[in-house]
């Protein structure tokens, strides 16, 4: 499903990623681990076409992500659900509207939005906070809304960049449980983290990156650094 072919990304003289080759199959749950600055986020940015590689190619299914023109990016990104460490909710939209926005952007009808958004709000257990704005929600609640937004269009892939980085242990556990459930329903998940507890709790494939290089790839790995 995802294939990185000898990908290198340099910022000036500094290589953030070097010669990365890896592939991810559909329905996998992959944790990418490494210290801060190891290159995890750069890897995700390349996958989202937020950045272009200096060398090599990134493929999503049969699409060469590097070749996508700017005008086609939004179509491509609708296949992917994104969850960020800092939630990145739209501050002047309510919880409901934040989730609905992803559907509106994808051109879904008002009827679909009216039926799907309340369902997703139920799923992330925030039906009673539908009309709250992000600054009226706790960190864990914000992240659950962000996950709701990521899954509302039933994407084939969810990318979560340090999704629990700003959360306390209880919220972290909840978020991981939600992600695992989504994965069980058939969605591929790629998560970056440097939280050992999470990786060990998930108990699935772990890719370790250190100073821009892929140093380990274990099918049922643990956090080893």
């Amino acid at each position: 499903m995802i294939y990185f072919d000898k990908v290198t990304k340099r910022y000036g003289d500094i290589a953030a990623l070097e010669d990365i080759t890896l592939s991810i199959a559909p329905k996998e749950f992959v944790s990418i681990v490494g210290h801060s600055g190891a290159g995890k986020t750069t890897l995700l940015k390349l996958l989202l076409a937020e950045e272009r590689p200096s060398d090599g190619n990134v493929f999503f299914e049969s699409i060469d992500v590097n070749d996508l023109p700017s005008s086609a990016l939004h179509h491509y990104r609708r296949k992917i659900g994104m969850v960020f460490q800092d939630f990145r909710l739209i501050p002047n939209k309510t919880a409901y509207e934040n989730i609905a926005f992803a559907m509106e952007a994808g051109g879904r009808t008002d009827e679909e939005i009216a039926s799907d958004v309340p369902y997703i709000l139920e799923l992330v257990n925030l039906a009673d906070k539908a009309k709250h704005f992000p600054d009226q929600l706790s960190g864990g609640e914000k992240q659950r809304i962000a996950i709701g937004r990521a899954i509302i269009n039933q994407p084939e892939l969810i990318i979560a960049d340090e999704p629990t980085g700003n959360l306390d242990p209880i919220n972290t556990y909840e978020i991981v449980e939600i992600l695992k459930k989504i994965n069980e329903l058939g969605t591929t998940i790629v998560i970056t983290t440097h939280n050992k507890g999470i990786v060990d709790a998930i108990g699935k494939r772990v890719i370790t990156i250190d100073r821009g290089r892929l140093v380990r790839d274990d099918a049922e790995g643990r956090y080893v650094l």
Binding site: L48, E50, S70, S71, L73, H74, H75, Y76, R77, R78, I80, M82, R88, L89, I90, P91, N92, K93, F101, A102, E104, A105, G106, G107, T109, D110, R149, N153
Partner: protein, 305 residues
């Protein structure tokens, strides 16, 4: 559907913008008020110029011995000239009546007139040209015309053009200069305020730059992201235009009553009432164009993600 969503979303973010939206409307109001004053200034200058142009004419005074038929012959010749707008004949009797009326309270002058006996005033033709620049050629026509002499002696006593010419020229020049300087100043103000309005909208959009990046990552197309911002900018422009149009009623009334005599009969309030649709159109369109254009320009740089 997409358009409706953009409208709803733009409207909501305007309402939720609170202080930022209010500040943008205020700045935009100032800009549009300056554009509005440009309209009034232009009207005032045009009015003044026309009033003065109307006062400019050439008077041909005939000797007292000239017969009315000779004068009327000159009149009809003048009327045939393409550059002449109209010619008015004032007989010496009419001139006397007008003179007496003008000096009705001035007993000294009237006594002097009575002592002279008879009618010392000349009959005259007031010639008005279609354009002030044509007087020169009308005067040369008169000077060369054979109809102005009867039996070898000229029936013309004097032509007052050269006496007025200097004043007319100087006045035209002064008006022209005022017009140009006035416009330059107002246009400078307009440009400055347009830039401030642009900067304010850019700032409002800058606040939303992270939000725009998220929209891009969630898969929204550029058009779908831009739409609501353009709607918000347009709402700002329309609201500011309405505020200006409302404020102009009391403002033009106040300025009008204070300055009507000063401006030689030009009333700002009457002009506003008579040309409301024009002013409304210009201010509303300026508001919409400013708001929308500023939004489009400001948001472009954040759509690169």
């Amino acid at each position: 559907m997409v358009f409706k969503r953009m409208l709803v979303s733009g409207g909501k973010s305007f309402l939720r913008g609170g202080a930022v939206s209010a500040a943008t409307v205020v700045i935009m109001t100032v800009t549009l008020a300056i554009i509005g004053s440009l309209i009034f200034l232009s009207a005032l200058l045009t009015f003044t110029l026309n009033t003065i142009k109307d006062k400019v004419d050439v008077s041909v005074y005939f000797v007292t011995s000239a017969s009315e038929s000779d004068i009327l012959a000159v009149k009809s010749q003048l009327e045939k000239l393409p550059q002449v707008a109209n010619v008015t004949y004032t007989s010496s009797d009419e001139a006397l009546t007008a003179f007496r009326a003008r000096h009705a309270t001035d007993q000294l002058t009237l006594q002097a007139l009575d002592e002279l006996g008879g009618n010392p005033l000349d009959a005259s033709l007031e010639v008005r040209a279609k354009d002030t620049s044509e007087y020169e050629s009308i005067v040369s026509f008169l000077e060369a015309s054979p109809a102005l002499s009867s039996g070898g002696t000229s029936i013309v006593d004097r032509i007052n053009y050269s006496q007025n010419k200097e004043v007319i020229d100087r006045l035209s020049l002064a008006i022209q200069a005022t017009r140009e300087v006035g416009f330059a100043v107002v246009i400078l103000f307009a440009i400055a305020s347009v830039l401030i309005a642009f900067a304010t909208i850019r700032l409002a959009i800058y606040v939303a730059k992270d939000e725009i990046a998220v929209m891009r990552l969630v898969g929204a197309s550029n058009m779908y992201i831009q739409g609501p911002f353009i709607v918000t900018g347009t709402i700002t422009g329309v609201l500011a235009a309405l505020v200006v149009l409302l404020l102009l009623w009391p403002a033009s009334w106040y300025v009008g009553t204070k300055t009507i005599s000063w401006f030689g009969g030009f009333s700002v309030a009457t002009y506003y009432a008579d040309h409301f649709l024009l002013v409304f159109g210009i201010i509303l369109v300026s508001g919409i164009v400013l708001g929308a254009a500023a939004s489009i320009l400001a948001i472009r740089r954040y759509l690169q993600v």
